[in-house]
Subunit: 355 residues, 2 copies
């Protein structure tokens, strides 16, 4: 075998074998090697086999830099995101990666350290120099607005979770649909009103969910309790829960994501407020663990896979037509009813754990 030569290569960081080397060994021109390498027709089976044999023997692998230079494309999509610590980003990224792979595209990750304008600017500049044909941006809209100037021209972009549909191709979960369903579900159970545990102010998704919550209450003619602000983390949900447990007339809470709902459940339990008997809780996202919460969480299911798929499709279509397609695509959500919601306790009674 050629184990020896492989080891040798590893040692010397060898000049990689090129088409010319293969051509020499196979006794053909390098163009013929290129044809075989790209599966073009017009190569006689005999010759083809000879070339393939030479490739195998030398361990030929095409040089993607040269290929990209010649072809003018990298077959790579860059993904800009702030963090992999939110379920949504991760799940979306996963879907993007597999959709892209199915289309023969690779994914280059560009994490942005901090959500500051400078960081985003810098990231876009770097992305511009990156070996990438197009980007997908997953981030908070306010920053995207400010950073727009830096987006390299002539590069196709698709954006997740944003309201920049006037300038970019945006794919978003139907935030309004989901949040509305959550609020209406709770009102439908008989709750007088619904409290909201919101995500961080800078988040576009959080803002949309909060806006919709307020609107849904207004539609139903219900008063809106003060909004509680979290930061997506279970911990912030816990802190909010401690506070909400002391509100005697709080019987229903819509948390802007499942992690915060988890913290909320934990705090309510600690404070002796039974869920769902005394307080109903609805989350958002439907993370895989939501069904294992105590109690199993009623939540709004987001189809992240679909979001990722559409982002890739969108950006590739733009690449092919060489034109931007501003506009927003909404991916539907659905309410998953589990055991964390129920009708409110009998009104006007002082809350007191049932013996």
């Amino acid at each position: 075998m050629d184990e020896g030569s492989a080891a040798e290569q590893a040692r010397h960081r060898v000049k990689r074998v090129s088409m010319a080397d293969v051509a020499r060994l196979a006794g053909v021109s390098s163009q013929t090697v290129s044809r075989v390498s790209n599966g073009h027709a017009g190569v006689v089976p005999d010759t083809r086999e000879q070339v393939l044999a030479a490739m195998r023997e030398l361990g030929y692998r095409p040089n993607s830099a040269a290929r990209a230079l010649k072809r003018g494309e990298f077959r790579t999509i860059g993904v800009v995101l702030f963090t992999l610590s939110t379920t949504g980003n991760v799940r979306t990224l996963e879907a993007i990666a597999s959709s892209a792979a199915a289309e023969g595209y690779a994914i280059t990750l560009l994490p942005v350290a901090a959500p500051t304008h400078d960081e985003v600017r810098g990231a876009f500049t770097r992305l511009g120099e990156l070996a990438v044909d197009a980007f997908i941006v997953i981030m908070e809209v306010h920053l995207l607005d400010a950073a727009t100037v830096a987006l390299p021209p002539g590069v196709q972009v698709a954006v997740a979770d944003s309201n920049a549909g006037d300038r970019y191709s945006v794919v978003d979960t139907d935030q309004a649909g989901g949040a509305g369903a959550a609020v209406r579900h709770l009102l439908g159970l008989g709750h007088r009103t619904v409290w909201h545990l919101a995500g961080p102010e800078e988040s576009f998704a959080a803002q949309r969910r909060a806006d919709t919550w307020r609107a849904a209450l207004a539609d139903a003619g219900r008063p809106a309790p003060p909004l509680i602000r979290g930061d997506w983390s279970a911990d912030s949900g816990y802190r909010a829960g401690l506070r909400l447990a002391d509100e005697p007339d709080c019987t229903a809470v819509f948390a802007a994501n499942d992690q915060m709902a988890l913290g909320l459940l934990s705090a309510l339990h600690e404070k002796g407020r039974a869920v769902p008997e005394e307080v109903s809780v609805v989350g958002f996202d439907d993370i895989p663990e939501a069904g294992s919460f105590l109690p199993p969480l009623t939540t709004v299911h987001q189809d992240f896979a679909e979001v990722g798929r559409r982002l890739v499709q969108g950006v590739l279509r733009q690449l092919r037509t060489e034109s931007a397609e501003p506009g927003t695509t909404l991916v539907p959500t659905r309410l998953v009813e589990r055991a964390s919601t129920a009708p409110p306790p009998a009104p006007r009674e002082h809350p007191e754990p049932a013996g």
Copy 2:
């Protein structure tokens, strides 16, 4: 401003501006542009400013394909992984991405659809053609063994969570240390023995944790209950929990990850088995939500960030010295004690919920 030209470029998928264009506008040679672009010395400030102005005016961005072709390196690390659905992979990836970014390297993602030999083989082949200087592989070891043949020679590799330290540079969490601490913690509380809810058979990490669990029990001269097999998901933990709840002498469970522990808690609660009063539970990973479980989960903290950092450092060092560095680096763990563990209930009594 040049908004018009930018829009024009977007429309025509324009021949991108090259160094030659900048050189022409600035009235210098393209080599001078190259020098400015790479920050080389030996360019008079006057000239430099002129070049920079021309770059700005034309919106010049270096062509990374040409650059990579010339330099012989891509400044990119490929990351092969099976799934982004386990916390560990995601957190490790996140750390890899930021460490790499700090070193001026980008990350290209290569998800492997299914953990089959063919898939892995195919992935490695594709990776060989990818614009990548080195890889980091995050996957189950058994498959890595079988797929080894396909790993392109002369490319540096680092591997996470594997026992392939004889061939590759491996960085792993100290599985044995963590699992041992978990078991000893439970025994130390007075439990007669500890049950184990293991991860899937194919997982190297799962295997190590199970082996250590068994060894720690043997060391203490305790009998090992039958091993329960899960698949990392909360759901599998729930199913295991239903089963364990019926084992009257099960007072302590070590779950191989936090998600399964969550499911376990849920099932035990449903079956009326109090945690930690009747059954103690320890997890593994210390996911951010672990502190919000009911009860807050005692678990083994893994430092994924450190694992990612070391993987990047290792692979870059190999790249620089042009030599492989087989061997295994262990990243320490620590037991985080929360509220899911306690001494066992008084022995020999029939388990019966305390009124």
